[in-house]
């Protein structure tokens, strides 16, 4: 649709407004500098630009209409020139001619998410809390001698206490450690007190592999030995841990038995599900068993060559898998061993 030979002011206005709309769109949407240049030639070009026609047409208008039409012409020209400059500026700034995506609801480019194993996450969190209290990490072998695993830890030979540790043997006196406690003895033999260590690691029991048992599982052990370390320190430190780790308002200690500690105590925290009211998960007691602990038995210190009259201390042990089960809602512990990518991705923190 072209401008008539002798346009009325209304014709002129209608056509130049249309030109303005087309021109602004073409300039504003130009995808790159080349497209922008093409649009410039099309609308503002010195030789064939569409705006030239309107400049010429001014002369063909009635005298009274000229000032009004002239104003219109100038406005549109300025608008187009401004749009050209702005777009040129935009495109010039984004090297490689960036254009905004039209649909910003499209998804981000995904990346494979790495993840630590849930049991590792629990171990690391436990370690972080004890680190604040001056603990470091000690390790020991999984294939151990019977002496480090039992003898040095005051296990009576051929006693029902041994039934609590159904053992996988490799040779007569070589076994897969049934707990991380041998690390206590190795550490005490190697370093003089004060000793404040955590010993995470895998331990083995001669158990069938089912929803709640595994022949191998993780344990984390703690040991604190120095002059003047007492049962009060045990209660205070483990209570502090319970509060930090579980946010548990209340912890309780009750008598227990481990050959390598005396007095022995198990620590419960207020059930995380019912907050002490009693529920099936805590068998109605309102408490959840978290760890075993106790004052290190003098016989254990003596076995490691430490003067048990001078030094005292405490130790604890717990199962990070049990904690991970509660925390992440894992009913069947076999899930922890399956290494199913679909599970491991879920727990990524």
């Amino acid at each position: 649709m072209r401008l008539p030979e002798s346009p009325s002011l209304a014709d002129y206005r209608r056509h130049i407004e249309r030109l303005a709309a087309d021109g602004l769109a073409a300039l504003g949407d130009a995808a790159g500098l080349d497209a922008l240049e093409a649009a410039r030639v099309e609308f503002l070009g010195d030789r064939r630009g569409q705006l030239l026609e309107f400049q010429r047409a001014l002369g063909a208008l009635a005298r009274d209409d000229k000032p009004e039409a002239g104003k219109l012409f100038n406005t549109v020209k300025r608008q187009l020139e401004a749009a050209l400059a702005e777009r040129r500026d935009q495109l010039g700034r984004a090297a490689g001619a960036y254009r905004r995506p039209a649909d910003l609801t499209m998804p981000a480019r995904p990346q494979w998410r790495g993840a630590k194993h849930p049991v590792t996450l629990v171990i690391e969190e436990i370690a972080a809390i004890f680190r604040e209290l001056g603990f470091t990490v000690a390790l020991g072998p999984e294939a151990e001698s019977e002496w480090y695993n039992f003898g040095a830890l005051n296990f009576p030979a051929d006693h029902p206490a041994m039934d609590m540790h159904d053992t996988l043997y490799l040779r007569d006196d070589v076994l897969l450690r049934t707990h991380t406690s041998p690390v206590q003895v190795r550490t005490l033999q190697r370093y003089a007190p004060p000793v404040r260590i955590l010993a995470p690691g895998n331990v083995y029991r001669r158990d069938f592999f089912d929803a709640s048992h595994a022949p191998m599982f993780a344990q984390i052990e703690g040991l604190c030995i120095d002059e003047g370390v007492s049962f009060v320190d045990l209660k205070a430190t483990l209570g502090h841990f319970a509060q930090r780790f579980f946010g548990a308002a209340r912890a309780r200690f009750r008598p227990s038995f481990f050959p390598f500690t005396e007095p022995s105590a198990e620590m419960d925290i207020e059930c995380q599900l019912c907050h002490g009211a009693g529920c099936p998960a805590c068998k109605g007691t309102g408490w959840m068993e978290i760890l075993g602990s106790g004052m290190v038995h003098p016989a254990v210190l003596e076995a490691a060559g430490i003067d048990s009259e001078k030094y005292t201390g405490w130790a604890f042990g717990m199962g990070p898998a049990r904690i991970a089960q509660q925390r992440y809602g894992v009913g069947d512990i076999r899930v922890f061993y399956d290494s199913d990518v679909r599970f491991l991705e879920q727990i990524a923190e």
Partner: protein, 810 residues
């Protein structure tokens, strides 16, 4: 260990409810795992109020009532009892519940009137024989309250987790003793029916003796104490109700009065006893001896068992009649025809009982107690009470004073307990008087020494676990209550132990692999393995995987296959764990390694690409470099092309620490190839640190040396770059080309980057095109074009001469 709440109350008149008792026992003695109401059949019965009552329109003895059962709606209930009265409370069974008599109630019409449940009589609830009417309840509880909560109905079984150090708790007497101590209420043995038998104190004899014409011999290594008694003229029959109920309250079954009496004493005192049919014992002889190899016995459970010398038997003149401390023999079992008894009350050796139990795979209430040791002083009391009970419920008479064989009674242990030591271990001062009183309450004898702060403590005969001062300190702490001790964090010194370097290494590797998008696995380390190369578990529970792995990739490959079976084709797993290698000695070598397995898509799909890129060997190679650098920071890492299964071996400072390989899998056709990396972090030493009872404190390792990266000033002069696309004949490697380029470039070559490989169109047969970008920089000035050109020419000439490598022209 099950005890009955009511039975305990027969020993100690405490007022605590079962729930309170649970708290007390758990806090001071042993954990109560459960409380089992023995009238669980009453659980569905609730207390309900009859709100309205009117005669049934079509019956002269029925009533129609409206019952409030707490549900919020009044229920129409038809009742046949004459005593039903509006406003009163009755036990009520809702529709759908099963009442103790076994009837399940359904909604039904009785003479045209709907009845939604039943108001119950005492007999219907098995609470007595009264069937005259429904049971009126005089309690102050809202309708809907469970009947068991409203009334103390029925006994409660208290399930205690007794740990192996406390054999004394394996009886009502033992638990009652603790309850008495913590409640302060007196302890007394419950009265038994009849009179306690009186006999002359049996003279102690060692090895052999006789009672009422029966010769008794005992090897005291097998049975430290053996008592026997003959009873004649007993009548075997059913037990009285009270005895049946007591046994049922701990989950035991009534058999006959004599056997029940024996069981009663076991649960009451913790002393296992056994009654033989004297008529079936040959030669009027009872002998405690080791079984002869090959001897056989049919035990009470009907199983024929072949014995050996590790098993102690009770034998007559001819054959074994019981497995000592484990189970009686069927041939000498007490039956309805039995009239004469030989009652055995003995203490058997714990270790031998344990051996026999394991050897025969036969655990009984008796073996459980003998294994944990039975009070040496208990048999006379147990025999006396057993005899009284048998006399009272089975009649007969005692044929003569009992025989009591023992060599020497154990000497009481005197333990000195120092008050400062108590305070040192417990961190709080427990006054000696207080400690002494608490110990006395559980049967300890306590003398305060005249010298300050010492107690002389003699533990009672039933506490074999208390042998040293620390054991007494535990007693003081638990009786005082662990709750009593303060919870304050006191000042402490930092420890002497540095972080284990393997832990530090493992943590670094883990962080690196997680950052690379891999998922950590913690799988089982067992494998099918096989042969000499693997460490074998001597007593595996499952025979399919009896070996310990030698390689992490072995485990990760199986885990990847498992993922493929779930149609997960994008697998990216890693593990940091131990592998085991057999040695000539008993102890295997143990190594901590990091392993990673990758297969499938390198990136999750995205609409804007990149698409369809799979993990390949080059990713595995970079993963290997990543692991090696994280594990051995600052050390020189190199990957050397390898032979056989391995693509590359990983060298750290020239030492072979692992490799990269394609991992063959049992995989479906759609699965991508899998690549694995396995790298050694460190050997986990398992040699003894020091001798037994010794330490090696003088030899503690010093700090691990660290390699810190050094800063090189960043260049300020411009670089000059050019690309070389080269045609490599077959057999020429990138490494050879790079070596030649470096040799010809001189020291200004800053970077040599291989960025492209191409074969196919335009490339002569038998060659490949490989392209490098070379970056040159002079530290002080701009390089001139001529200098660059010169180098380019020199490089091309050297390549041509040395390797017949030329620039690609097309």
């Amino acid at each position: 260990m099950n005890v009955s709440y009511e039975w305990l109350r027969a020993f100690v008149p405490f007022d605590e409810t079962a729930a309170q008792l649970r708290e007390l026992i758990t806090a001071h003695t042993a954990t109560v795992d459960d409380l089992v109401p023995l009238r669980a059949d009453l659980a569905p019965i609730v207390v309900a109020r009859v709100v309205e009552e009117a005669p049934h329109p079509d019956s002269d003895h029925l009533h129609v009532t409206k019952v409030d059962d707490g549900s919020g709606t009044l229920l129409d209930v038809v009742c046949g009892a004459a005593n039903v009265t509006a406003g009163k409370l009755y036990p009520f069974a809702r529709t759908g519940t099963t009442i103790p008599t076994g009837i399940t109630l359904e909604k039904r019409k009785i003479r045209g009137q709907v009845s939604n449940g039943m108001l119950c009589s005492a007999r219907e609830l098995k609470l007595g024989d009264d069937h005259d009417g429904i049971l009126e309840l005089h309690v102050d509880v809202p309708p809907g309250t469970p009947l068991l909560q409203a009334l103390p109905l029925g006994d409660t079984q208290v399930v205690i987790d007794v740990l192996p150090n406390r054999p004394d708790l394996l009886s009502h007497l033992g638990v009652a003793r603790e309850v008495s101590a913590v409640t302060g209420k007196p302890l007394a043995l419950p009265a038994l029916p009849g009179e306690a038998p009186v006999w002359d104190d049996a003279p102690h004899a060692a090895g052999a003796g006789a009672t009422a014409g029966v010769a008794v011999r005992a090897d005291h290594a097998l049975a430290p104490r053996y008592m026997g008694l003959v009873m004649r003229g007993v009548t075997v029959g059913p037990s009285p109700d009270w005895l049946v109920e007591r046994l049922e309250s701990v989950g035991a079954r009534s058999i006959n009065n004599v056997v029940d009496a024996s069981n009663y004493i076991l649960h009451e005192l913790g002393q296992p006893t056994h009654a033989f049919d004297l008529g079936k014992l040959a030669g009027n002889t009872v002998a405690v001896r080791a079984a002869r190899p090959g001897e056989k016995i049919v035990t009470l459970d009907g199983v024929e068992r072949v014995l050996d010398a590790s098993i102690t038997v009770i034998a007559d003149a001819e054959r074994p009649c019981a497995v000592a401390g484990v189970m009686g023999g069927r041939d000498s079992e007490v039956t309805d025809a039995t009239t004469d008894l030989f009652l055995e009350v003995a203490v058997f050796d714990p270790a031998r009982t344990r051996a026999a139990r394991r050897r025969l795979g036969l655990s009984t209430d008796a073996s459980y107690r003998f294994e944990r040791s039975v009070d040496f002083a208990l048999p006379p009391l147990a025999l006396n009470r057993l005899t009284q009970l048998v006399l009272a419920i089975a009649g007969g008479q005692v044929a003569g004073p009992p025989v009591d064989l023992l060599e020497h009674a154990p000497m009481p242990r005197v333990i000195t307990v120092r008050s400062p030591r108590v305070a040192k271990v417990l961190g709080a001062r427990v006054p000696s008087v207080d400690a002494a009183a608490r110990l006395t309450a559980i049967g300890f004898t306590v003398d305060a020494e005249e010298s300050e702060g010492e107690l002389r403590v003699v533990p009672p005969s039933w506490r074999p676990d208390v042998v040293a001062e620390i054991d007494v300190i535990e007693e003081i702490a638990r009786l005082r209550g662990y709750d009593w001790f303060p919870t304050e964090i006191r000042p402490f010194r930092p420890g002497n132990v540095p972080d284990d370097p393997i832990w530090v290494q493992a943590s670094r590797v883990r962080e690196a692999l997680v950052a690379a998008g891999l998922l950590e696995a913690r799988p089982m380390p067992f494998t099918r393995g096989g042969g000499e190369a693997h460490v074998r578990v001597a007593n595996p529970l499952a025979e399919d995987e009896p070996y310990l792995r030698r390689d992490l990739l072995d485990t990760l490959a199986r885990r990847a296959e498992e993922n493929l079976a779930h149609m997960t084709g994008n697998v990216r797993l890693f593990e940091i764990g131990s592998v085991f290698e057999p040695t000539a000695g008993a102890m295997p070598r143990e190594f901590v390694r990091a392993g990673a397995l990758i297969m499938g898509d390198r990136y999750p799909e995205h609409f804007a690409g990149p698409r369809e890129q799979r993990w390949d060997e080059w990713d595995a190679r970079s993963m290997a470099e990543r692991i090696a650098r994280a594990a051995h920071p600052g050390a020189g890492v190199a990957l050397a092309p390898a032979e056989g299964d391995w693509l590359w071996r990983v060298l750290v400072e020239g030492r072979d620490v692992g490799g990269v390989r394609h991992v063959p899998l049992d995989a479906p056709v759609w699965a991508a190839p899998a690549f694995g990396v396995e790298i050694l972090l460190a050997e986990m030493s398992n040699i003894p640190v020091a001798g037994r009872g010794e330490h090696a404190h003088g030899d503690a390792a010093g700090p691990v040396p660290r390699h810190w990266p050094r800063y090189a000033p960043v260049a300020t002069t411009p670089a000059a770059e050019f690309d070389l696309a080269l045609l490599l004949p077959e057999g020429v490697t990138a490494a050879q080309v790079e070596a030649a380029i470096r040799g010809a470039s001189g020291e200004l070559l800053e970077r040599l980057h291989l960025f492209d490989e191409y074969t196919g169109k335009g490339i002569p047969e038998g060659t490949r095109s490989v392209a490098w970008r070379l970056t040159f920089r002079h530290p002080e000035r701009t390089l001139r074009d001529k200098e660059i050109e010169g180098r380019r020419a020199r490089i091309l000439s050297v390549l041509d001469q040395e390797l017949h490598v030329r620039a690609r022209t097309s």
